[in-house]
């Protein structure tokens, strides 16, 4: 299972990074989403992988660490909200300039540096 989780995190991160480097808003936003999925799984795994144990401290000797689950919950909420915000701002920028490039290449846009 460790291999499975580790490779899932790795593949999600690699895919996310590739998409982020495409420099057009739609792939970049998809890439950021993939990265947040990767980090959620990573956070989840940071409390060690335990199967079939309750995420609560009881008298039993085996339990799943509940803290990473709380952290993941917070992270999911924040990344979800952030993605919505960036979609709206990107849409506004795209509809205004009819250009969905993220970077300031020379000769594009008024404020190319």
């Amino acid at each position: 299972m460790e291999i499975l989780v580790a490779s899932a995190i790795g593949i999600l991160t690699a895919g996310g990074l590739y998409l982020v480097l495409r420099m057009r808003t739609f792939p970049v936003i998809l890439g950021v989403s993939l990265l947040t999925y990767a980090v959620n799984v990573f956070l989840f795994a940071s409390g060690r992988l335990t199967i079939g144990a309750p995420p609560i401290l009881t008298d039993a000797t085996t339990y799943t660490d509940p803290l990473p689950q709380a952290l993941v919950l917070t992270a999911i909420v924040i990344s979800f909200g952030m993605t919505a915000v960036v979609v709206m701002i990107a849409l506004g920028a795209y509809l205004g300039t009819n250009d969905d490039h993220v970077d300031d290449a020379p000769g594009r846009g008024e404020d190319a540096v």
Partner: protein
Amino acid sequence: MTHWVIMPVVLPAILAPFIILAARYHMGIQRVFSVAGVLALIAIALGLAVQTSDGTVMLYQLGDWAAPFGIVLVGDRLSTMMVLLMAVLALFVLLYAIGSKWDERGRHFHVLFQLQLMGIAGAFLTGDLFNLFVFFEVLLIASYGLMIHAGGNTRLRAGVQYVLFNLLGSTLFLFALGALYAETGTLNMADLAQRVQLIGADATVGIRVAAVLLILVFAIKAAIVPLHFWLPSSYAEAPAPVAALFAIMTKVGAYAIMRVYTLIFPVDLEVTAGLHGTWLLPVAMLSLAVGAIGVLAAKKLDRLVAFAVISSMGMVMVAVAMFTQESIASALYYIVHSTLAAAALFLIVDLVRQSRGHLELVTDAPVKGAALIAALFMVAAIAITGLPPLSGFVGKLMVLNAAFDDGLTAWVWSFVLVSSLLSVVGFARAGSVLFWKAQSDGAPVPEAGRPMPSTLSFVAVGGLLVLLGVHTVLAGPMYRYTTATAAQLVSPDTYISTVLDAPGKLSDAKAGDH
């Protein structure tokens, strides 16, 4: 346990929804409440700073849960000083926003402003790394709204870049926190400080990765080269009062580096040897140089100021990266100076934009009020480039003095002095093109359509510059204060024992655990 520590977070958190619910259609009421809130924030921050000035560490346990289990807020000298700086800066920025009517050009300026203050105050006060992440997000969400306040295509475009860069930064932050938690099983800063000490020399891979990831996140916030690319467009395109408020946001990154890399990963820690202790100083010097070259090369005034911010952050980080008590004391002095100076400059940029209509560094006809704006610009430029007699000069002297004991003294001195020279040349060029050559141009003064900026705008900018003057005159007492603050940072035993030994719910379980 006093409840005052959490007030800088709670007050704006209550005020923001109040403004949006009760006063959303009444700009006058919004302004009154916003200013009143900031004034109260200054009073609270001042009270906290006075209480902690004798070296006490104030602790607030949320829900009365004992430290490693619950979230704590901690107010020590550094935190309260930064909160006070933020509150004072916020007052002048807010006055400018009102005076220049920036707050009317879009919706919900005052709400977002208060939420921004809440996030920054929380980031300064928290004693828990995950909570720091959450407050970073709070301040970022508010800053996204402020950044694109009043809209416009160029601004939205810069906003997209800013948001995406910070989203990636947040993701990196979570990776760092996950790695840290996997290695130590805690995210409370004081508890981390103890547990990192226990890590054996044979299993340092994970913790070294975590330390590097974490410093990358803070370096993005502090805009250290090569992670500074987000800053020039964002700060140049943001509305002027927002850019001025953002002057404290880069300092949040510097604060986080100071806090985490003196408390959790002190520079003499065995397991993270050769990481930030070795590499932070060279990259900080590089930021200093890149910022100064940017100042020299900028074609527009707003970019010029943005690069000056990068350069001054480089200066702060040079001082921080030496990680001695003396160098951190000088860094703190310089942080206060550079926050006020950068904010004043961003506001002056807006005054120039209002009177000239554009910010290109080309000669143009003289405009109304140019003499006053030119005088303000000159004072602020003297301050930020570090010429005598203002606090920038004093601050740079302190940093250079602190560098005497470092192995890289010659490098630090040459980088600081050469980049200061470049900045002076850059600002002198900008000032002479904007204000001086305009007089010799002899073209008729365009009277139509460009009213003088309001008196309140000038009061706000003047107030910031007066504060810089006070900061210079009181350099002695300020330096003594920052030295005491740095002393508290480099020997964090009181901090750790205050946080971990305070009784609360579950503290019995902790006693059994150890």
